[in-house]
Amino acid sequence: MHELSIVSSIVDSVTESLARYPGARVIGVRLRVGALAAVIEDSLQFCYGIATDGTPLAGSTLVVKTLPVVVHCSRCNVDGAIESVQSFRCPHCGELAMDVRQGREMEIEAIEIEEAEVDA
């Protein structure tokens, strides 16, 4: 269970980027997480509420977009999403494929913020 450390890193990262938007409140955080990233969304959501409490992220929603695992097949010379993470094979020809092109991502794609009105 390392989801709590992951969520803490998200809070630190987002808080840091908020420095450029004084007074802003975070409404939502969008993640891109590869299917190979070993992160469980339910655990992330569970930890998110706890870890954001008392931070500028409190009350915001966490949206997790899962990315399929894409391998490059050297025989077909194309990229393709594998059907299951139990078998790293080219979806076209069935050859074993060791070149993983997508699926390990763990990134904050964007945040949605509400900015304070600036007095004229």
Binding site: H2, S5, S9, D12, L96, E107, E109, A110, I111, E115
Partner: protein, 223 residues
């Protein structure tokens, strides 16, 4: 109030990744081959490492080890008996090692004097896979008693590994280990990965493993 979307495109574990990249540069500059050993609790990481350290020292190589453990220093004491420099990293409940912990425990060690540095991770097949420690080679260990389908259950870890070590081969027959199935499953998750079939008890497979270490170190020096 106005709302807006701010694109960040930032790795969640960016801080760890940056620290790991810094460590990797240091290790390369010092020409020390660094290996990160990952497995379930009790697979035999410490036993395998004890044997590896002994053999390396006997052949005149200089090897050191860092060992992660939730609370105790038992593994560090076992490893230190080999005569190699060993340091314990107590993670105090954290289920994996992070680059920062590794960095902190290198203070005072002259890396350039070492040929090999082994890092025994906390016994866990999930969390360590996300944390780069700056290693050159990640080794996934699997014992003959824990099920041939482990690689299928933990594809993230096995797919991120560079080499696999099957441990406790001395009891393979007694526990009905299905060797073909284990090799097939590892290959299905990480096609072409080198696999070593070993026993820390009898020393089986150690010669091949030591040959691999030597070869990898030569590669690193040449690159």
């Amino acid at each position: 109030m106005t709302t807006r979307i701010v694109e960040l495109r930032r790795g969640i574990l960016k801080k760890n990744d940056e620290l790991a990249a810094g460590l990797r540069d240091r290790f390369t500059a010092a020409n020390v081959l660094v290996l990160n050993l990952v497995s379930s609790p009790g697979t035999g990481k410490t036993a395998f490492l004890e044997r590896t350290l002994r053999e390396l020292l006997a052949q005149g190589s200089l090897a050191a080890a860092l060992v992660g453990d939730l609370e105790t220093d038992n593994d560090a004491r076992r490893l230190a008996a080999s005569g190699a420099p060993v340091r314990q990293i107590n993670t105090h409940g954290i289920c994996h090692l992070e680059a920062e912990m590794v960095g902190k425990h290198l203070d005072g060690w002259e890396l350039a004097a070492l040929d090999y540095l082994f890092i025994e991770n906390v016994g866990n097949l999930v969390c360590p896979s996300s944390y780069d420690l700056g290693e050159k080679i990640r080794v996934a260990l699997l014992s003959v008693t824990e099920g041939e389908d482990k690689p299928l259950k933990y594809p993230t870890l096995f797919n991120s590994a560079d080499a696999a070590v099957i441990t406790k081969m001395d009891i393979a027959e007694a526990v009905g280990f299905d060797r073909e199935a284990a090799l097939r499953n590892i290959n299905e998750i990480r096609p072409g990965m080198r696999i070593f079939e070993t026993s820390a008890k009898t020393g089986a497979g150690l010669a091949e493993w030591l040959g691999y270490l030597q070869e990898q170190r030569a590669n690193q020096a040449g690159s």
